[in-house]
Amino acid sequence: MNTNSNVYTIVYTTLIVVVAAAILSIAAMALKPKQQANIKAETISQMLTAAGFSSKEDLAKLGNDKVLAMYSQNIKTAFLIDAEGNKTGELETEVSGIELQDNLKLENKNIQNGNPSLPVYVFEKDGQDINVIPCYGAGLWGPIWGYLAFNADCTEILGAYFDHDSETPGLGAKIKDEPSFREQFKGKKLNFDNPDNPFDIVKGGAPADNLSAIDAITGATMTCNGLDAAIDTWAKAYMPFLQKKAAAAAGDDCCEDGCCEDHDHDHDHAHHHHDHEHNHQEG
């Protein structure tokens, strides 16, 4: 066969390309379930790190099963809320109920449209509730997202974790790789008085007494601006819910940990009077 004839050349290149594509597709399909499991475990580790149960590095060493087990152990409840902060539906506390990054992207669009259906994950640590909410936005080169963990009455941020798709390593990627950036979130709070800008990431350093601002990363201004915008958008969407929680805690003198619907006693029959009292706040 003449390997330099036109027909042979065309047939050969077509064949090579088709074979290469087939190999890649088969490999992708065969490994998809494992990849999904990895992604799920990754999302869980991010949430657990934000909530302060462990650090990402330690979780990475544990392996998928242990991470899933840790989630099931510590998750208390998970639900969806709407634009007014009312509970619209329960999410499964099974691992299948976790919203992955694609869902976050969808929710981001829903927030822009004005009809969001946002997830809230409630963990329990040492008897206290930890509320974890996600956020999603555009970084410099690609999407960035993360989780913010609030205390039981949603007035203080306990921790945070952020991830990115393709930010610059060493600069924008520091939102993920640099623990000291995340540490700044501890003890901060959202500024409910300023609904369009409840949180600031300040280039050049935030004033020390500003509880709603942190320092940006040097050389990663665009990424930090993107993160700031993401947090602002999602915090604004969650604000009715967070404010309801805070109000429930402030006006509540019968529950010690602040929010009755998350009281760790069995509230089915023992504390039905609590549910009755606070019905109006759940909408």
Partner: protein, 110 residues
């Protein structure tokens, strides 16, 4: 034979070092200088990809038409790179391959 062997082994390190002499792949190389772990993973991946793709191309070499040699080699190398990288990940443990994932996608994107 000894001379040839010495040349093959030592050239890529000293006289014909792709990074320092040919100034190729600077961005990827600099990116892995942060941690030894990263450099190790990168080195391992490069060895696997170049070795496997050279092997495949050498099997095909008599059948490739002259005009499309470079194209076919490109296709083979690209396929190997994608297989070794994270999007079609081979292992199932978070630890090892998420790490490779994070490292490799820096370079592929680059």
């Amino acid at each position: 034979m000894n001379e040839d062997l010495k040349k093959t082994l030592l050239n890529p390190i000293f006289k014909g070092n792709p990074i320092t002499v040919l100034v190729l792949g600077i961005c990827s190389s600099l990116a892995v200088t942060v941690q030894l772990k990263g450099a190790f993973v990168m080195a391992l991946s490069v060895i696997i990809v170049t070795g496997l793709s050279s092997f495949v191309v050498s099997l095909l070499r008599n059948s490739i038409p002259n005009r499309v040699r470079i194209i076919v080699q490109l296709v083979v190398v690209a396929m190997m790179v994608i297989l070794v990288s994270s999007k079609v990940t081979i292992s199932t443990t978070i630890s090892f391959y998420r790490y490779i994932d994070n490292i490799l996608w820096i370079f592929i994107w680059e």
